[in-house]
């Protein structure tokens, strides 16, 4: 399938039912995790090797008004994914649909993807020593299906379709909710420091309220490493070995020439 796809999450519609989390676990055959209750109804502290999709629930009071903010959080499927750029093994790649997919065969669990992701998404499984994250149900998309979470959402808070259609829908929905949520804004729709994301949001408030970075960026350090430092370092290593071998050969040739010129007597040092 060559069409670029995207997922759109409207937080104003989310009821926090967590059906999307269950659907993800079911499709990915992931086990439930026993997590301690720490005074918050949010089920997990964060994403984990067994939880690729999480409904975050944040309680806050602003101007004497209590807010309970829900947001579906998972891999953002960036247009310029820092995880893929930072992977030394090429284990992460962007599909034509826009999903950023991990090849577990190539993954060596180094954790560079986790270090480089501006959203802190990939988690390395300490048992399998492989990285883990949402892959936008790339297998379902390839078969013309909808990702499990979007398929299941009970509140129609998750839409999935062609990227252009989702962008149009996002703008339309934003207009609808501006009256009730004056601070409402889109996130990931426009090109940003990660090139825009294929996981897009209609937020009812600023990204900071939802724990999202205001200006996510694939850091220049990653490009510098992958495009310059690493190849130059490899070249330097090879160059040093070739140089030493060349110097050795030349030294031997010069010594032999001197020996021949002196009639078989070698140079004393």
């Amino acid at each position: 399938m060559a069409t670029e796809m995207a997922m759109l999450h409207d937080v104003s519609r989310c009821t926090g039912c967590r059906a999307c989390m269950v659907a993800c676990k079911q499709w990915k055959e992931l086990p439930a995790e026993s997590t301690p209750f720490d005074g918050n109804l949010q089920s997990h502290k964060g994403l984990s090797p067994k939880t690729y999709n999480l409904i975050k629930m944040t309680e806050r009071t602003e101007n004497d008004t209590f807010h309970w903010d829900f947001i579906k959080f998972q891999c953002m499927h960036c247009a310029h994914p820092a995880c893929a750029k930072g992977c030394p093994k090429g284990a992460l790649h962007k599909t034509e649909s826009g999903a950023v997919v991990l090849n577990k065969e190539k993954c060596i669990g180094c954790g560079y993807c986790a270090d480089n992701c501006p959203f802190d998404v990939p988690k390395v499984d300490e048992q399998t020593h492989k990285s883990t994250k949402c892959d936008l149900c790339a297998d379902r998309i390839e078969n013309g299906m909808t990702p499990a979470c979007a398929q299941t959402c009970t509140a129609r808070a998750i839409d999935f379709g062609k990227k252009d259609d989702m962008i149009t829908l996002a703008h339309s929905r934003l207009n609808d909710i501006k009256g009730s949520f004056p601070n409402a804004q889109l996130y990931g729709v426009d090109k940003n420091g990660v090139g825009g994301t294929h996981m897009m949001y209609i937020l009812t408030d600023s990204p900071a309220v939802y724990g999202l970075p205001a200006n996510p960026k694939t850091n220049d350090a990653i490009d510098l490493w992958k495009d310059i430092i690493r190849p130059v370092g490899q070249l330097m290593g090879v160059g040093a070995i070739v140089g030493a071998a060349g110097a050795y050969a030349l030294t031997k040739a010069i010594a032999k020439k001197h020996k021949d010129e002196k009639g078989g007597k070698s140079d004393a040092d």
Binding site: I108, G109, D115, D120, N219, M236, A244, D269
Partner: protein
């Protein structure tokens, strides 16, 4: 007095032990990182799993960090002398590099300035390796433990820093290895037996040779006799 009528003391035992521990640590660190550094060494993962290589890398990292610290206790005099030598840089050290390429090829160019205990090349290599050590250890510890305490902005730079320092250190290591093993095998004796032939000392570290005579540690007569016997 010369050892065995021909050798002069060069390095103390503790310094030698730490040198070889450091060499082992560095080589193993490089080998265990090689499949991560270059796809041509991915086949290493058919021998041991990537996770095992990561554990080995961290194990030898501990040795790499501990060894210089250990050297401060096992060879404090040598370490102090080495540090003083590295920072004692003069015009002769700069001139050294003009003549070094021909010297390294065995051409013995006229005009090569007399060198001290460590020649300018050794001083530069030492400075390079010490800088690389600090960069590798700082970035390595950040990558290992720093995720929880360092900001993401800082963490982004740790892989490039670690990679750059490793690249520089390896290039320096190849030069060091080549010169010690192939170009100047006499110097290798210094890092094994702890002494070197007086002929080699005069040829390559003449300023130090003169210092030893001036301090009365060796006599010029016995030195010249040993050199003459060696050349015979």
């Amino acid at each position: 007095m010369l050892i065995d009528h021909k050798y002069v003391h060069r390095h103390e035992k503790g310094f030698i032990i730490c040198h070889w521990l450091n060499a082992l640590a560095f080589i193993m660190l490089y080998l265990t990182a090689l499949p991560l550094y270059s796809k041509y060494f991915h086949f290493f993962y058919t021998i041991l799993s990537p996770y095992t290589f990561q554990i080995l890398h961290r194990t030898f990292a501990v040795l790499f960090i501990v060894t210089p610290v250990l050297s401060l206790f096992l060879a404090p005099k040598s370490m102090k002398h080495w540090a003083k030598q590295i920072v004692d840089v003069g015009l002769d050290d700069i001139k050294f590099f003009i003549y070094f390429p021909l010297e390294a090829l065995g051409l013995h160019p006229k005009g090569m300035p007399k060198q001290g205990f460590y020649n300018a090349g050794e001083k530069l290599n030492s400075a390079l390796q010490i800088c690389a050590w600090f960069l590798l250890v700082f970035s390595g510890l950040a990558l290992w433990f720093g995720g929880a305490s360092l900001s993401k902005e800082t963490m982004y730079w740790m892989v490039p820093l670690h990679s750059a320092a490793a690249g520089l250190a390896f290039a320096g290591f190849i030069g060091h290895f080549y010169l010690a093993m192939f170009a100047n095998p006499d110097s290798m004796r210094g890092m094994k037996a702890g002494n070197i032939h007086i002929r080699y000392a005069k040829a390559h570290h003449e300023a130090w040779y003169e210092e030893l005579i001036a301090r009365g540690e060796i006599s010029r007569e016995e030195a010249e006799k040993a050199i003459k016997e060696n050349n015979a």
